[in-house]
Amino acid sequence: MNREAKNNSGKPPLEGIKVLDLSAQFMGPEVTRTLASFGAEVVRVESIHQHELTRVSAPYKDNVVGVNRSFVFAASNTGKYGITLNLKHPRSAEVVKRLTIWADIVVENFGPGSAKKYSLDYEQLRELKPDIIVLSLSAQGPTGPYSMHPGYGFNLLALCGFSHFTGWPDREAVAPVGAYTDFLCPWFAVVAILSALDYRLRTGRGQHIEVSQLEISPHFLIPAILDYTANGRVQNRCGNRSPYASPHGAYRCRGDDRWCVIAISSDEEWKAFCKVIGSPGWTKDLKFNTLRGRKDNEDELDKLVEAWTVSFTPEEVMTRMQASGVASGVVQTIKDLVHDPQLKHREHFQILERPELGTHIYENLAFRLSRCKGGWKRPAPCLGEHNEFVYTKLLGMTEGEFIELLNEGVFE
C-alpha cells in the first residue's frame, strides 16, 4: 500500500460537488459526512427554532447543556458548513431558491409529503434546477399504509427484525448497539448518490432517489428471510452459536468482565487449537474429533474451553490462537478500541478542535483509497456558524441583502 500511497495526494474526487444537507438525526448526516470526506462542499441547514435531536443529545461537554456542546452532533457532522434558516418564514422561499440553484445534490428526511410544505419537494426543486439530484430518506418509504408512522433507528431496528436475533434463546430479545439501522443504511444511500452523479455526467439528467430504512435493512438478514420463504422456518436467536463452527463463542478470560472469542470451523483449526492449549486429555476424546461431535457436545465443550481461557487475558488468547491460524479476538471495550494498535495504524480515531467542545474524537471511514486521501477539513459547525460565509460568499448575496434578511429573522 505504501508504494501506491505516494500518489495519494490526488485531488479529492468530490471537490466542487455541492450538497445541500437538509437532513437531521443520523442517517442523512452520515451520508453527507462521507461525501464531505472526499471533498464535497456540504452545507447543513438548521434552525434555532427547532433544534435537531443530535444538537440536544447527551453527552454534553462537562455535562453542561448547550447546542454547541453535544459530542453527538460533533461526531456526525465533521466537515460541513452550518447555516440557520427559518423555513417557516415567508421570505425563506427566496433563500431556498438560491440554495437549490447552488446545489448539485439535496439530501432531506422531512418525511413523506413534508418537503412540499417548504417548497422543497423534487418537482419544485427541479423547476429551479433541472439536473438536481435529490435524495429523500424516510423510515418506511414515501408511500404505503405505514409511511407516515414516525420511526428512528432505535425502534426501526426492532421492526426490521434485528432485535429478535439478538440475545439468548432462553431469554428476552435484547437491544443491539445503538440506533443500529442508522449505521447500516447510509452506505446504500452513498452508493445511490454516486451512481446518480455518474448518471448525470453521462446523460445530463438529475433524478429523485428515495430510500428508507425499512427497505434497506432487511438486506442484512436475507439468509434468515430465505430460510422462511424457501423452507417455512423462522430462525431464532442463538447467542453466539453457529451451525458451522464449534467451539464458537465468547469465553471468559482473566480480569474483570474480560472476554475473548474463538471460532473454529475446520478440523485443521481444531487440531491447531488443541495444540495451542497444550493438548490436554479431554481433547483426545473422540467425540470432539468432528464438527458434528463438537456440536452435539457443545455445552460441555464450551465449559472446557473456558476452563482454559479463564487463566489468560483475552489478548494472550488472541495472540496465541492467531499465531497458529485459529480465529480469535478480544471482546473490546470502547477504551480497548481507542487504544487498539490496528485501529491506530489505520488512523481510525482522529482529533479535531472545536469552540465550546475543545478537542473531540471523530472517526475515519472504514476504507482508504490509494490515490485520494479522505478527511475532513473542519470540525462540525456551531449553530449558524457559517451564515455569513455561505449566504454571501457561496450564494452570492450582497452584504445589504444578507443584513436585510438577517434583520427580518429569516436566518433563524
Partner: protein, 407 residues
C-alpha cells in the same frame, strides 16, 4: 445507472459489494474456484439439502451475478484472469493481504495491464498493520470492533446478532468506497486501490459509546434490553404479550405525544399508575432517579404484556406514537408496508422448479429501475458465455482447461 464490468473474486466477506453494484446495473461476474466458492457449503440450505447449488446463503448475496470458475493458482488461470482484467472496470476481492500479489495479480501488477482498474480489497483488519494477517470470522470482527462488549445481558457473556452482519456491512461500505474511487477515475482516467477494513466498519456502530468515552472517559457496558443514554441505561426493547417492542421513553418535543397517547390508553384500562402524574412536555429523563425509572418501566411492561404486537402497533399508528413491534422473519415477509412498496420479488429457480421470495427494492429512482434480473449463478454457469463467446476460447480448449482444473 452503472455501466461497468466487475470481476467479483470475493468470498462471503465481500459478496454484498457486487450484489449492490449489480442491482444498479453493473455487469458483475462472480469468479469462483473450480467446484465453486467454499461458502456455498454454508447454509441454511433449500429444504435442508446440503448442496453447493442449494445454499440459501449463496442465493441471498449473489443475485444478478454471472458465474465463472477459474483457478488463479495456475499460470494459465492467471493469464486468463489478466485477459479479463483488460476489459474490466472493477476487481473486488477478499483474499488475505498479499495473496494476490504473490500470484502476480495484485493491484500494482493489474494496474500495469489496465491503468484504469479499480481494485477493492476487503479484509477483516486491512491490508497493513499488526493484525493484517489475523483470521477474521464474523464473531472475531464484531468482538474486535467493539460491538459485542455492549450487547447482551449483564449476567451472560457478550453476544452478537445471530444472523451474521459484519460481512454484508463491509460489502455495502465497499460498494460506496468503490464508487468514490470510480468518480475519481471519471475525472482523471486513473484507477486505484481501495482498502476496506471490516473491523473499522463495525467500529463506527459504537458511535454513542465513543461519545460517552470522549466526554467522560466512561466505558459503556452491556445492559440487556437497555442502552446508555444520558445519566443512565434505559430500555429500548420491551416485552409484550406475544413478543417484544422497540420503544423508548422520551420527554420533551420528541416523546411527549407518544407518552401522552400511551398513558391515556393505559388509563382506560386502569394501568397508568404513577405515569399519569408526569408532565411529559417538561420531562427531563436525565433528572429521573433510578427508582422512579424502574417503577415507570415496570408499569409500562405490565401494560405491554397484556397486549399483542398487532394491537400495540395499530394504536401506535393511530396515535402517532414512536413505537414499533419487534418482527420475526415471518412477520417481516407478511408486513403490509413492504408488500405495498413492491419490496419482494419471486425469483425463479428453474433447476429447483420453484420461485423464492426475496428482497429487491433498496432504492427507488425516478430515472432508472433497480431490479434483480436473475438468481445467483450455478457453478460455472457462464463459462461458455464468457470464455467461449467473449474471450473467444474454443470449445476444445475449454474442455482441456476444465480437464486440467484451470476452470
Amino acid at each position: 445507472m452503472l455501466h461497468y464490468r466487475v470481476l467479483d473474486m470475493t468470498d462471503e466477506k465481500g459478496w454484498m459489494c457486487g450484489k449492490i453494484l449489480s442491482e444498479l446495473g453493473a455487469d458483475v461476474i462472480k469468479v469462483e474456484r473450480p467446484g465453486g466458492d467454499q461458502a456455498r457449503n454454508i447454509g441454511p440450505f433449500y429444504h435442508d439439502i446440503p448442496d453447493p447449488e442449494k445454499s440459501l446463503y449463496w442465493f441471498a448475496y449473489n443475485t444478478n451475478k454471472r458465474g465463472i470458475t477459474l483457478n488463479i493458482q495456475t499460470r494459465r488461470g492467471q493469464e486468463i484472469f489478466k485477459q479479463l482484467v483488460t476489459d474490466a472496470d472493477f476487481v473486488i476481492e477478499s483474499f488475505p493481504s498479499g495473496y494476490l500479489n504473490d500470484l502476480g495479480l495484485g493491484y500494482s501488477q493489474l494496474s500495469e495491464i489496465n491503468p484504469k482498474i479499480i481494485m477493492t480489497s476487503i479484509t477483516p483488519f486491512g491490508q497493513t498493520g499488526p493484525y493484517k494477517d489475523y483470521k477474521g470470522y464474523d464473531l472475531v470482527v464484531v468482538a474486535m470492533g467493539g460491538f459485542m462488549y455492549v450487547c447482551g445481558d449483564e449476567d451472560r457473556p457478550p453476544v452478537r446478532i445471530s444472523v451474521e452482519q459484519a460481512y454484508p456491512i463491509a460489502g455495502a461500505e465497499a460498494a460506496a468506497a468503490s464508487l468514490i474511487a470510480n468518480y475519481y477515475r471519471i475525472l482523471t482516467g486513473e484507477g486505484q486501490w481501495v482498502d476496506v477494513s471490516i473491523q473499522e466498519c463495525i467500529a463506527r456502530e459504537l458511535f454513542m459509546e465513543l461519545c460517552f468515552w470522549d466526554a467522560f472517559k466512561e466505558v459503556s457496558v452491556r445492559a440487556g434490553p437497555r442502552r446508555r443514554r444520558m445519566a443512565t441505561y434505559q430500555r429500548d426493547i420491551w416485552p409484550c404479550k406475544d413478543g417484544h417492542l422497540g420503544f423508548r421513553m422520551l420527554g420533551g418535543r420528541l416523546g411527549a405525544e407518544t407518552l401522552r397517547g400511551l398513558v391515556d390508553w393505559m388509563d382506560t384500562e386502569n394501568m397508568a399508575g404513577s405515569l399519569k402524574e408526569i408532565d411529559f412536555e417538561s420531562l427531563d429523563l436525565s433528572k429521573v432517579t433510578r427508582v422512579e425509572m424502574e417503577e415507570w418501566e415496570n408499569t409500562l411492561c405490565q401494560f405491554f404484556l397484556k397486549h399483542t404486537k398487532d394491537e400495540l402497533y395499530k394504536r401506535a399508528v393511530e396515535k402517532n406514537m414512536l413505537l414499533c413491534p419487534g418482527y420475526i422473519p415471518k412477520e417481516l415477509v407478511e408486513y403490509e408496508q413492504l408488500k405495498e412498496r413492491n419490496f419482494w420479488i419471486d425469483l425463479q429457480y428453474p433447476e429447483l422448479g420453484i420461485t423464492i421470495r426475496q428482497p429487491e427494492g433498496f432504492l427507488r429512482s425516478s430515472e432508472v429501475q433497480c431490479r434483480i434480473q436473475r438468481r445467483a449463478p450455478l457453478i460455472a454457469e457462464h463459462n461458455e458465455e464468457i470464455y467461449g463467446q467473449e474471450l473467444g476460447i474454443s470449445k476444445q480448449e475449454l474442455a482441456l482447461l476444465k480437464k486440467e482444473g484451470i476452470i
